[in-house]
Amino acid sequence: MTEATRTGPMLAADGTPLKRSLQRALRAQKLRALMLIAPLLAFILVTFVAPIADMLFRSVENQIVSDTLPRTAQAIRGWDHNSGEPPGDDVLAAFTIDMIAAVERKQHTRLGTRLNYEQNGLSSLFRKTGRGVADIGETYRDQFAALDPAWKDAGIWANLFADPSWRADHDAWEAARAAARTAGRPFAEPVPAFRLNDDLADVLPETADAYLDFARAVQGNRNGDPAARAPWPPVYLALYRDLTAIGVGRIATLDAEAQALLDPAHYAVRSFERADLAAIYRDIDRAWGQPTVWATIQTFSPAYTPGYFLTAVDLKQTPDGIVSQPADQKIYIMLFQRTLVMSLAIMAACVLLGYPIAFLLANLPLRTSNLLLILVLLPFWTSLLVRTSAWKVLLQQQGVINDILVWIGIVDNAGRLILINNQTGTIIAMTHILLPFMILPLYSVMKTIPPSYVRAAKSLGATNWTAFWRVYFPQSVPGIGAGCILVFILAIGYYITPELVGGTSGTFISNRIAYHISSSLNWGLAAALGTILLAVVLALYWTYDRLVGIDKVNLG
């Protein structure tokens, strides 16, 4: 009976399944192996994998809009951007509260920068609006104050909206502060964290919500005391809106103190002079009167957005769907194409230049080939920056190469070749820099091809060329494959050399990514571009694997 015909799992001598037995036997070994790589693994996870995952995540992340303008994002959902009108008072009031809170936290400029990627001018619009928004609601504040001066009193506001337990904590805190003052001791105890009165929040939801934001902003800002500062004018706007919206019966559910304050106000608001929010916003900036800005906010209010990826492929997300970018702003597809085409050109140049050298190296006596190999490796020991700068010297119009060509008489002094700050420059310099990555795998593969194959081919009647092409070349293909993958993947993500010698027409997508990372600070777009680049490389790798087989690649 052979082992294969036996039914059931193989058993070890003691009756346990052989597989488990083997696993147990190998466990210590695996554990030891894991411990050996653990430091590097942890290092890579922390310094490499996690940041990259975070960067990739940024390409779809868009929480800044819903974080900064939570009420607006909620309220604008029902607005129809095709109506031709800006959204109504509900949205404007929500936006006002969001904005004043954002201004207090200095978040509105960041939001402006983010939305500016989608529509030009929004950055300055938000800065401008941030300056004006604090005044919205002043009309109502003055009218409430005229009705009852208590409405201007910070302590009364705090008492009204705070949970009774907070009031008690706050009283204790004030007593402690007074005691410290009398004793001349320094007092650094923080104000107790503000807690909202749930009953009141039920009756006056907008106001309570706005006041909570205010209280938190005050506390967050150098640990201020909400009971010592009158609320922002926009809070009065919220109060006006709440009071006009509710029936008198709701106020009757509150305690006597609150009723005494709110009843007259509830009665009075009906005769208050209304502030025209739409007009106020139009006064701040005409743009608020147009639906476009609001449509942009609406489109980008979800927490995740395909917007960066669309931008990266020259498309644009608009309220009406995905459209193509205007022709003068289409650059990324062209840049991707250029990156691919030039990387292929560099790869081809490396094969053409590297193959004969690798062949020579593999067929020379060891002493000579070692010496030549050192010459191949020599550039590795020189800084990349130095080599690229050297190419600048060589390639420029008054540079060494042009001088020699003029001196020999091949080109006219007036017709000096433009070899730098264009694609030619990038291809020349990068081919030189990446050539060793082609030569080394080729060399290591060719080294393993015994000379007897070519001899055998010749003895069988093949000419030198046939012997090379039919017998030697096919066996060196794995080396070409490895070199091409290496060079192509390195080239596609190259940055320094195109930046220095590429000018404007010879730059790669990576230069654009770098620009967005360090200059425009549009990290989302940079992440989207980087993700696409990564996907393209992986797709090409996969294709290569399907066509040639990655196991045929030999890196030596």
């Binding site: 015994p450 007897s452 194959y453 001899r455 055998a456 081919a457 010749k458 003895s459 069988l460 009647g461 093949a462 000419t463 030198n464 046939t466 012997a467 039919r470 017998v471 096919p474 066996q475």
Partner: protein, 367 residues
Amino acid sequence: MTAATDNGFVVFDRVQKSYDGETLVVKDLNLSIGKGEFLTMLGPSGSGKTTCLMMLAGFETATHGEILLDGKPINNIPPHKRGIGMVFQNYALFPHMTVAENLAFPLEVRKFGKSEREEKVQRALEMVQMGAFGGRRPAQLSGGQQQRIALARALVFEPELVLMDEPLGALDKQLREHMQFEITRLAHNLGITTVYVTHDQTEALTMSDRVAVFNDGRIQQLAAPDVLYEEPVNSFVAQFIGENNTLLGTVTEIKGGVAVVRLDDGELIDAKPVNVTKPGDRTLVSIRPERVEINKERLSPNAHLIHAEVLEFIYMGDIYRTRLRVAGNDDFVIKTRNAPDQRRLKPGEHIEIGWLPEDCRALDAPA
């Protein structure tokens, strides 16, 4: 040797080869190989035998002298035009082609038509009993199968001369013996001229019509295997081919085809002079182990008897191998057949051994 140049199929005429311009790897090689002959170049590594083969194949050029193939000088003909089949040490089967493609390769470059190609390939495969393996890759074959394919590939374009460079070196012993037989059978059946390079003397003896023993860039002896074994012309050949017992001594006189040699321990023996010429010459007396007799009854009357001490007895199945001390030499080995009446010697025993004077050859003493 000049006579050979007239009738040989392959002729080396005073060929010399140097790689560095300072030393000669092949020194004045003259060799004529007849049509249909199986000639083996045998020698230790570095003796120049492979260089000779490579010069014949065209991968090395002779520094001096002429190589002729079928009467025509080929020094300036590139390898692919020589039409010589060759089997390489590591077979050199093209790994990226199937077996059939490997075999079709020489036909393709000779512009044979497709159907003719296929027919020849199939015939060649069947010739080496590999008819069903055409679609396989070389890596899927065993060493012996690869060997057969390499052979078929060298023969498929019907060359008149086939060179083989230690083709059986990578095979195990049993397979090697089998392939030795196959190769000789094929070579004789097809009537092709074969030049075979090896450092394995058994291979050389069993396969060849003639063997050229190389050493130090020269042919030491060129003879049929039996002549080579039984009548080596110098001490190198005697020691290189087969096992050999040697005794050092000095010639005291030569007369009537017999040399009297005084061995270094004083004993006088008779030997057949091969390349000693005059009394006083230092000589190496050579006796094959199987020609030494320990059974006095079986010795002929004119045999020379000598005292020996048994040092070691090794049982090897079909034979016994006994190491003796004879005339001061501790490495004197005799082989006796495992026969019912054969005595097993014990170490420490003192016996008398003997041999016929004609089996004892007085050769030059190496310096």
